[in-house]
């Protein structure tokens, strides 16, 4: 069918830009079903309106209630849709298999989903980033895992989606065909901040990609910058806002609390200092704040962060004392 032309004309209306090889098949099938639907729908509506008008109850008109059965007609409208359905199924299954069978020789990226953050780790040099960077025209393979609940990885521009299930590894592959920045969403409901579990995917040329990875692998020297770097990558950002004073996320905001007394859930008060921050990271339930009883519990980072990293986080949080702009 004339899918390509259609896709070009209406790209702006129905679909986000097509940026992977999957888009061709998905868009083709989508438009095919759309046209099939229209071809069915219009006559149904026309017939309905026509019958409404022509056979409406009015003085001097009496319908003839004989037409109750018409075997050839009934067989036709059973068989014809059946064949169309079989064709749609077939096209869908073929496209699906293409998505399901992962090619060899891929660029590998590990995806860590956690409430409410995405983190990506590149196999090539072990770099990590909260935004997904990809080289153009390569087969990309994602190995995805969730630390807590169900998530789902979705890039509309790639027409690619797969759930991320805790306790399992799920794989997803695609082949980006267009440079640019695209949306990346979580599409499986995962709790309070589900709707902020969004990030970007940036497709780069090969050289730029390599340069980006080399840049990403370097952790910042400055301790506050390192703290922020960790804040964005270790799923702190999903709950704790570092900005707008008092902004209440699922967890307390870091901003403007340093050195002050904060109330705890157990009724006591504690000074917001190095020790308190360290306790909250390693034993969050011990340091739970008042007013967050119904929020999701914070997981412990014991064994996941080195002392030196905790120091960096503390330095970052302390730097927010005066309230800088919220990191985007």
């Amino acid at each position: 069918m004339n899918s390509l032309i259609l896709a070009d004309i209406s790209e702006g209306f129905w679909f986000p830009p097509a940026a992977s090889t999957f888009a061709k098949q998905v868009d083709f099938l989508y438009y095919a079903i759309l046209w099939i639907s229209i071809i069915f729908f219009i006559p149904i509506v026309i017939a309905m309106i026509y019958f409404m008008v022509k056979y409406r109850q009015r003085p001097g008109y009496k319908g003839s209630p004989e037409a109750l059965h018409n075997t050839p007609l009934e067989i036709t409208w059973t068989v014809v849709p059946s064949f169309i359905a079989i064709w749609i199924f077939w096209e869908g299954a073929v496209g699906y298999l293409d998505m399901a069978i992962i090619p060899d020789d891929t660029v590998d990226v590990a995806v860590y989903a956690a409430k409410w953050n995405w983190n990506f780790k590149y196999k090539e040099n072990g770099a990590e980033s909260p935004i997904l960077y990809l080289p153009i025209d390569k087969d990309i393979k994602l190995t995805m895992q969730s630390k807590d609940v169900l998530h789902s990885f979705f890039i509309p521009a790639f027409r690619a989606k797969r759930d991320v299930v805790p306790g399992r590894y799920h794989y997803l592959w695609f082949h980006p065909t267009r440079e640019g920045v695209f949306d990346l969403f979580c599409t499986e409901y995962c709790g309070d901040n589900h709707s902020t579990m969004i990030t970007k995917v940036q497709v780069l040329s090969d050289e730029k990609y390599k340069a980006k990875l080399a840049e990403l692998v370097k952790e910042p020297e400055d301790i506050v910058e390192r703290g922020k770097w960790l804040y964005e990558r270790k799923a702190c950002k999903g709950c704790h806002y570092a900005g707008t004073e008092g902004a209440k996320g699922p967890g307390p905001s870091y901003n403007g609390s340093w050195g002050k007394k904060v109330p705890l859930a157990n009724g006591t008060e504690v000074t917001f200092d190095e020790n308190y921050v360290k306790t909250s990271i390693l034993n969050p339930m011990e340091a739970a704040r008042k007013g967050y009883e119904t929020a999701s519990a914070m997981p412990s980072y014991k064994g996941q962060l080195k002392d030196e990293q905790i120091d960096a986080l503390i330095a970052f949080i302390r730097s927010l004392e005066s309230g800088p702009a919220r990191p985007k």
Binding site: D108, A110, K302
Partner: protein, 384 residues
């Protein structure tokens, strides 16, 4: 499925009746038994006994279908989990005392017989036999629960608890000295005391009806304790063996880890999964997730016990065990309540050849409950 309804066999659907003042003024349901040709046991909206009986029977069968489907969810969970972790089932079923299971199977099978006899007795209007047989069924059910109480309390005592609460340290398991059994016996003890008082009262007022009801209730209360005693004898005699069975299971599992290709296959598969996923990526270790449980404990691989004997493995087995047997026990208790209701009705001599649907239907229910046990017993206790 019946194609022809009884009403289509030429009977007149609406027997004539007069609307009387009493009916109009009848409160609430207004379903007064005002039909002259409607006996008291025939509900007003039914035409005849046969239609009422057929309706009840079909309703009960449909209910049984829902019961089977209700249990099938748990059977599915059993199959899926067993398929995933066969070694866990080998390890854990050694902790289930198949002697107690076998006794309980026998008790339930016998109760099915008495129940079937009760149905026959109700058709023949043999009230004494009917009450006796219903009482025997009730007693068997109570005995079943007694044995089950011993089983449960023993397991709780050594920490064989479901999922999150599984704490068994099988090597040095403390023996069941906690009073779980006494706790379980409190309610039956109170009930038995009430039944005893009731029986004495019925003797005092010399009411045949009350004696007929109180007798079976008292006997069933005692049966519970007979079951407890029986269970204790078997479990007590097993005490050393049980411990032996536990450590035996370790040896077994230990051996299997090396010898059994199945277990080994599982282990390799798990390793493989992790390795493919791990290519070049060092994973942040999640807290207590299954991924680590299975994969990371390489140094512990020589001790299959630690692989299986934890909350996610053995604990989950016991979750399934408690859910299945627990829901089954709830059904037994439900059955006991309706049988008690039947005993009351039977003692009033309500049943006869045209009206025995309730006994018949409860009988069907009871057979189904037995039937489910017949599946549970081998699946949980026997298959290794």
């Amino acid at each position: 499925m019946k194609i022809e309804s009884p009403r289509q066999q030429g009977r007149h659907p609406f027997p004539k009746f007069q609307k009387t003042m009493t009916e109009v003024a009848a409160p609430a349901d207004g379903h007064g038994h005002d039909h002259h040709d409607h006996p008291s046991w025939l509900a007003h909206h039914f035409d005849d006994a046969e239609q009422q009986y057929d309706s009840g029977k079909l309703g009960m069968w449909l209910f049984l279908v829902t019961e089977v489907l209700f249990f099938s969810g748990m059977f599915c969970a059993y199959v899926l989990y067993r398929n995933r972790n066969p070694e866990v089932f080998e390890f854990c079923s050694a902790f289930l005392n198949e002697k107690l299971g076998a006794i309980n199977t026998g008790v339930l099978l016998f109760s099915s017989l008495t129940m079937a006899w009760a149905v026959r007795a109700s058709q023949l209007k043999q009230t004494k036999i009917l009450v006796g047989m219903l009482g025997a069924t009730l007693g068997c059910a109570a005995m079943f629960l007694g044995v089950k109480s011993v089983e449960y309390s023993h397991k709780w005592g050594i920490g064989l608890l479901p999922g999150r609460y599984y704490v068994a340290q099988v090597e040095n398991a403390p023996h069941a000295e906690t009073n779980y059994l006494q706790m379980l016996c409190v309610i039956p003890a109170i009930l038995s005391a009430v039944f005893l008082l009731y029986y004495v009262y019925s003797l005092v007022i010399a009411s045949k009806f009350h004696q007929r009801v109180a007798g079976p209730l008292l006997v069933s209360g005692l049966c519970f304790f007979a079951g407890v005693g029986l269970g204790n004898i078997l479990e007590g005699g097993e005490h050393h063996d049980e411990h032996g069975a536990g450590s035996h299971a370790h040896d077994d599992a230990h051996g299997h880890a090396h010898a059994d290709p199945l277990v080994q296959g599982v282990a390799t598969a798990e390793k493989a999964t992790v390795e493919t996923a791990d290519e070049g990526i060092s994973f942040v270790k999640t807290s207590g997730g299954p991924v680590n449980d299975v994969a990371v404990t390489k140094e512990e691989e020589g001790i299959p016990n630690s692989k299986v004997n934890n909350q996610g493995m053995a604990g989950l087995f016991f979750s399934i065990y408690y859910c299945m047997t627990g829901v089954h026990a709830v059904h037994i208790i439900g059955g006991m309540l309706v049988i008690t209701w039947l005993i009351v009705k039977a003692s009033r001599e309500e049943f006869h050849s045209e009206y025995f649907g309730p006994v018949d239907n409860v009988g069907l229910y009871w057979h189904l409950v037995d039937f489910i046990w017949i599946y549970l017993f081998p699946l949980l206790y026997l298959i290794t």
